[in-house]
């Protein structure tokens, strides 16, 4: 197999090139390596039988990601009760604010990320990590651009909440009450 960046004449030849990204996306949705690999496998099979519907010249990765997330959500609907139960358990877990550290610890971050809803994890990975535009992400997830934008910002806010960080406030240091009062006055004036 050769590494190449230019699209091949047959999109099937480009599929292996996108497998690492598909896997990363699948892991972020399923939060489980085995489930992620099963999801990637199902996506490959579905993509293969639908390649005649792929418009050559369009974004193959976006097309594959769309099949992947649609498969994920349709599987999830089938197993709804089971999934809701496990989400409930995750949501009940509280995360502790990383003490005296301006940097987010990766394990804390991942723990909080995994507590987000799949819709929030999805937009964060599409827009925040893989660099898709809001427009591409909207097409892939089948919602309006404005919905993607508000989802991304809500997802970031929720992450901050889960990490015990309040957006718009200082994460650099622990603040005492007096400092907070000054800060909140200044925020009100600025708004």
């Amino acid at each position: 197999m050769t590494e190449h960046d230019a699209p091949a004449a047959d999109p099937r030849d480009d599929l292996p090139h996108h497998l690492p990204a598909m896997r990363a996306f699948a892991i972020s949705l399923t939060r489980d390596l085995t489930a992620a690999d099963d999801l990637v496998q199902d996506t490959i099979v579905k993509a293969w039988s639908n390649f005649d519907k792929f418009q050559s010249g369009s974004n193959l990765r976006a097309w594959l990601f769309t099949i992947l997330r649609n498969t994920f959500y349709s599987d999830r609907r089938k197993r709804r009760r089971e999934v809701m139960d496990s989400d409930g358990v995750h949501a009940a877990t509280l995360f502790v604010k990383p003490a005296h550290d301006a940097r987010l610890a990766m394990t804390d971050f991942l723990g909080a990320f995994n507590q987000l809803t799949p819709e929030h994890r999805e937009v964060l990975v599409l827009v925040g990590a893989s660099g898709f535009s809001y427009e591409d992400a909207a097409t892939m997830t089948g919602v309006a651009v404005g919905t993607v934008k508000s989802r991304v910002s809500r997802a970031r806010l929720r992450l901050c909440e889960l990490l015990g960080l309040q957006a718009g406030e200082d994460i650099v240091a622990e603040m005492d009450g007096a400092t907070k009062a000054v800060m909140s006055r200044s925020t009100t004036q600025a708004a």
Partner: protein, 53 residues
């Protein structure tokens, strides 16, 4: 003392950057992992089924 502190707006932007940086780090870590053979085998199988396109 107040002047040395970051303004709320800056810290919000900083927080957003930190989140995106972490997301990219995690994402790229997975990207660099080896792809399991099962996917290469599967593609091989699909090609054969198709009659060697």
């Amino acid at each position: 003392m107040w002047g040395a502190m970051a303004k709320p707006k800056d810290t919000a932007a900083h927080l957003k950057d930190a989140i995106d940086e972490n997301l990219r780090k995690i994402y790229h870590e997975i990207l660099n992992e080896d792809i399991p053979d099962r996917f290469k085998d599967l593609i091989e199988q699909l090609r054969k089924k198709e009659g060697g396109k």
